[in-house]
Amino acid sequence: MNIVVCVKQVPDTEAPIRIKPDGSGIDEMGLNLVMNYYDEHATEAGLRLKEQFGGTVTLIAAGPERTKEALRTGLAMGADEAMLITGPGLEQSDHLGMARVLAAAIKALPHDLVICGKLSTDDNASIVGPALAELLGLPQATAIAHLEVDASATTALVHREVEGGVEILEVPLPALLTVERSLNEPRYPSLPGIMKAKRKEIKTSTSTDQKVAASSRLTKLVPPPKRQAGRVIEADADKAVAEIVAFLKNDAKVL
């Protein structure tokens, strides 16, 4: 089975971010950049299918040169190949432009499954996956929490969390899947894996997409409004209940 996993490099979510004074974006100085953790789950899903069916796992990313570090994380986990698409237009591109660049590259690769994280933790947009499915002409299943591929590797049975329930969906291959955190537990890269990943060549190509002109653009980034701490009181149960009920009635007006 030929599996393509899309990868993005993002700021480590555990660390604070600094917004540039002019609000044009975030300050990357000293920022720890890592593989988007949903993409770790996507890579893990690909590796498990490879273990079950044989084949290859190819990682693909579009972004600046530094993105190679995130690709090496996936190689160290066990992926076979990695490709990076760079290009001067990518920084101005919006998510649809990014999906177009990825689609052009993936079309040239054999692919039974394309797997993406359900979102990336920088833009939180969750656009690229389904947009990529459309551009590749593939059926899709997004935010999957369970995945089984039948023995003949012709269909995937997935579970998707929907409001108030779980949707059980059958998707014929080739297909595009985006994955939820609860799908699996990503493996840690092994030491030999890390050594091998360091030596591995990452194929780099330059996107010549002339249509990356963005249909939407970020004009300002600000910290979220600071919430004022309200009243904090130490109270026994009766006083606490009286306070909460009064708050629900008078302030929140839900009682």
């Binding site: 933790t121 929907v162 409001e163 949707e167 969906l169 998707v171 979220p224 904090v232 606490a240």
Partner: protein, 332 residues
């Protein structure tokens, strides 16, 4: 028409969903600013009852697209039908709820039409004839302002509970027009085996005005019954921070935070939740926050409007009784 604002309506059991009514209210205001009409588009098997319900909430025109192949929902059928309708009518803006369905098909639809798309919109304004959205980014550590290009159809996937459900005007009616959009079973490649309802007596998290949420301080799965009882009395949903999910006390769909759901209810009642950044990423947009925690230094108190340092095992049962009494009192 070119200045119209559309809402793609989600519905269940012949009723429009709350998110769709919220969007319809906003669509009316934006249509006014843009000089167009508020249009509701209702795809489904039999949507006549849903279509009739939308005029009172502000729709000027309701388009229906009825086809048995539209239920159960699939991305293929939905993209085909909504896409063809948009190609034909070319509205300037389309509002779609940020729900399991909306997040699934809206980006696919945008790619098909080459339309601009912004997801997770927490506000949507017309500013000097430009359309501007704000949205949480970097796991809610920042709020981004995004400006749409002015050409063509624009799609906004809007978070639930950011706009109020408009007051229904029973005298108001909308013109209902049936649209015929060809849909072939062969175009639907995926097959829904079933949608297993998760049996729960409380409201779904994404539709709740009030959320009662529990953390490590609940000490065990059995104590979530305390939250269930309070939630039932309040008409609220039950959620959790990450530790109860990781410990297997509650299923993953309870989780609110960076790795779970983002919610913004009227009231968020955090019980035994310390307030780790990973949790705050999912709930700091709530209108009102009440926290109960035995640790006076818990970070959650830095953003709670009302913080109670106390024993939740004593407080919760009494609070449930008091809420029942208050609700019963209102009915008299």
């Amino acid at each position: 028409m070119a200045n119209d604002v559309w809402v793609v309506v989600e519905h269940e059991s012949g009723q429009p969903k709350k998110i769709s009514l919220e969007l319809l209210g906003r669509a009316g205001q934006l249509a006014l600013a843009l000089g167009g009409k508020a249009v509701a588009f209702v795809p489904g098997r039999d949507v006549s009852a849903v279509a009739r319900a939308l005029g009172p909430y502000g729709a000027d025109i309701v388009y229906t697209a009825q086809d048995p192949l539209l239920e159960p929902y699939t991305a293929d059928a939905q993209t085909q039908v909504v896409g063809e309708a948009l190609r034909k009518e070319q509205p300037t803006l389309v509002l779609i709820g940020s729900t399991a369905q909306g997040r699934d098909y809206a980006p696919r639809l945008a790619a098909r039409l080459g339309a601009a798309i912004v997801t997770d919109c927490a506000s949507l304004e017309v500013d000097n004839s430009s359309l501007v959205a704000t949205r949480p980014m970097y796991t809610r550590k920042a709020i981004g302002t995004v400006m749409y290009a002015s050409e063509g159809i624009r799609i906004a996937v809007v978070l639930p509970a950011v706009y109020p459900v408009p007051q229904a005007d029973p005298k108001r009616t909308a013109e209902v027009r049936a649209m015929r959009i060809p849909l072939d079973a062969k175009q639907i490649r995926t097959k829904v085996h079933e949608v297993q309802a998760i049996k729960r007596e409380t409201v779904p998290l994404t539709e709740a005005d009030v959320i009662v949420s529990g953390g490590r301080g609940l000490r065990g799965p059995e104590n979530f019954a305390l939250l269930d009882a309070l939630a039932k009395a309040l008409g609220a949903a039950v959620g959790s921070s990450r530790p109860p999910v990781d410990s297997g006390w509650v299923p993953h769909d309870y989780e609110i935070g960076q790795t779970g759901k983002t919610v913004s209810p009227q009231v968020y009642l955090a019980c035994g939740i310390s307030g780790a950044p990973q949790h705050l990423a999912g709930m700091s947009g709530s209108k009102h926050i009440v926290a109960i925690n035995k640790d006076p230094n818990a970070p959650i108190f830095q953003l709670a409007d009302l913080g109670i340092v106390g024993d939740l095992f004593e407080i919760l049962p009494k609070l449930t009784e008091a809420v029942k009494k208050a609700k019963g009192g209102n009915r008299d």
